[in-house]
């Protein structure tokens, strides 16, 4: 086998390990976090402070009976949960997780594919995530699921607009679609979240809507729609949706961290271009993802759910105009020379 392929596979394995472990860890964090915020203990029976709860949950998922309801649309019903994992585990190849390192005479940038169209490809692939929700809701042959799907399709394309426009603003001064260039830009000129605070805010709110998290979890809305699009799913199929939701949160967190908070780098610190630098870079990125995930949990247990028309109004009449104002502002500042371009 040729050695380039092996290097690529190792890099993918590293990122895969990070993303696959997000869900089990978040099971614990989410429930203990909820306990903390609601002034109750949370899970505390399995292991010290409930640490083995994810393990118990995983066992439960595996041994539960796998029920397929009689009147579902079989092919779509079976494909949908698998598709839920696709966007996160595809887009992670575009996230840089360390400096360019030289190991054993081989120099390689720490990103699986440094595609020319990086950010655009990320947005394109993650926009396909909506199909999993739509297929699940339609195939379930259940009116609550169908309503969940209708909401999901409208919500995701509405907030994708604001998200994309806020991301475009970041790329104007960077002059490139590559995420490695975005990180290099922030190493030189400081984190983007300061000059682009508006865009950062829009991105944050849109990210909540894109991942169906409270206060925008309308497609699931357990108090109105039972469990929305995944009402009819149980056992491992439900677990796949669960894993998909957390992996998608991690993927968007990683994108946000890379675009607005320096990615794998820290200000004023230069990591060495060897294995140590790789480890430090990865740890920095993971720490940033962890902070973002903590914010997700914090917001979930703090805010009530929006009503559907409120959600649409917020997306179209507030976030999108704000994102466009930010885009114009950044473009003007770049032309005026306040924001310096990376490669003039």
């Amino acid at each position: 086998m040729n050695s380039d392929l092996i290097v690529t596979l190792i890099k993918y394995a590293v990122m895969f390990a990070v993303f696959i472990n997000v869900a089990p860890i978040m099971v614990w964090v989410e429930r203990r976090g909820a306990g903390l915020i609601q002034d109750r203990p949370g899970p505390n029976r399995v292991g010290p402070i409930g640490l083995f709860q994810p393990l118990a949950d995983a066992l439960k998922f595996m041994f539960k009976e796998d029920v397929t309801p009689a009147l579902v649309d079989k092919p779509l019903y079976l494909i949908a949960p698998v598709l839920a994992l696709m966007p996160a585990f595809t887009t992670l190849v575009l996230i840089p997780f360390g400096p360019t390192i030289t190991v054993g005479g081989r120099t390689t940038p720490l990103v699986v594919t440094n595609a020319d169209t990086g950010v655009l490809l990320f947005l394109a692939i993650s926009s396909l995530g909506v199909y999993s929700l739509v297929m699940a809701g339609y195939a379930s042959n259940n009116k609550f699921s169908l309503i969940g799907s209708i909401r999901a399709s409208a919500q995701l394309i509405s907030y994708e607009l604001a998200l994309t426009v806020s991301v475009l603003a970041v790329l104007i001064p960077v002059n490139s679609f590559r995420l490695t260039d975005v990180v290099a830009y922030q190493q030189r000129y400081g984190w983007n979240c300061l000059p682009q605070i508006l865009g950062c805010l829009v991105f944050l709110i849109a990210a909540f809507a894109e991942t169906n998290r409270l206060p925008f979890d309308l497609p699931e809305a357990e108090s109105e729609l039972i469990a929305g699009f995944h009402t009819e799913y149980g056992a491992m199929r439900f677990a796949l949706f669960f894993q998909g939701e957390y992996s998608n949160m991690a993927a968007l967190s990683a994108l946000g961290a890379t675009l607005f908070f320096g990615g794998w780098s820290l200000p004023f610190i230069h990591y060495p271009h060897n294995l140590l630098g790789a480890v430090l870079g990865l740890l920095t990125l993971v720490a940033k993802i962890a902070i973002a995930m903590a914010v997700f949990v914090w917001v979930r247990w703090t805010f009530p759910r929006f009503r559907y028309d409120q959600l649409m109004r917020l997306g179209w009449k507030f976030l999108l105009p704000l994102a466009i104002v930010n885009l114009i502002l950044v473009a003007a500042l770049t032309v005026a020379g306040v924001l310096k371009p990376l490669n003039p």
Binding site: L120, S127, V134, S149, I157
Partner: protein
């Protein structure tokens, strides 16, 4: 290698394209259109247009087709009886389709110069070349397309607005849960 990728995705595009046209369930037809669009995006990348490929997935598969699915689910369009036209009409359509195909076939193979494209150049693949062409030579069409989209947004909003709808609450988005419009019922038992 390139030939193999071409053959796989060309076959996928044609296969799912046929499903789009013949499948009775609109949901399946729409989902296989996504598959066609995806294979086309791969072919675009193969032709040295990675940006067009990415935009194809982002705009077409990620937004336009989702809009189709939204409307199909909102109106609860079911597979209807006799979704196709009459026999004679089908025959006419098939003949017209064959004529179209043969015409394009002849155009494609008339010019022998088309058979050997040169190697991909950096200039064609690069985003810079594409962007500078789009924003200099094609600036006017670009602006006009922007205007067209604005008109389309306004037109769509006006067309889909319920007659006599109040401007404040509940908006058109709410139609899904309004019992007076598209009935959301479980599908009947199938054999």
């Amino acid at each position: 290698m390139e030939t193999l990728i071409f053959v796989i995705f060309a076959a996928l595009a044609v296969g799912s394209g046929v499903v789009v046209v013949v499948h009775r369930s609109p949901i399946y037809a729409t989902l296989s259109l996504v598959l066609t669009l995806f294979s086309m995006a791969v072919l675009f990348v193969l032709l040295g247009a990675p940006f067009v490929g990415a935009v194809q997935i982002l705009v077409y598969a990620g937004a336009i087709v989702v809009l189709f699915l939204f409307v199909i689910m909102l109106l609860n369009v079911q597979q209807e009886e006799g979704a196709h036209a009459r026999r004679s009409a089908q025959l006419v359509a098939a003949i017209l389709g064959a004529i179209v195909f043969l015409g394009m076939f002849w155009l494609a193979f008339r010019q022998t110069t088309l058979r050997a494209p040169g190697p991909l150049t950096e200039e064609l693949v690069s985003l810079k070349g594409l962007a500078s062409a789009l924003f200099t030579d094609y600036l006017l069409p670009f602006e006009i397309v922007g205007l067209l989209l604005l008109v389309a947004v306004i037109g769509a909003t006006v067309a889909a607005r319920r007659p006599g709808a109040e401007t404040n609450a509940p908006q058109d988005d709410y139609v899904a849960e309004d019992p007076s419009s598209g009935p959301v019922l479980p599908r009947e038992v199938r054999s």
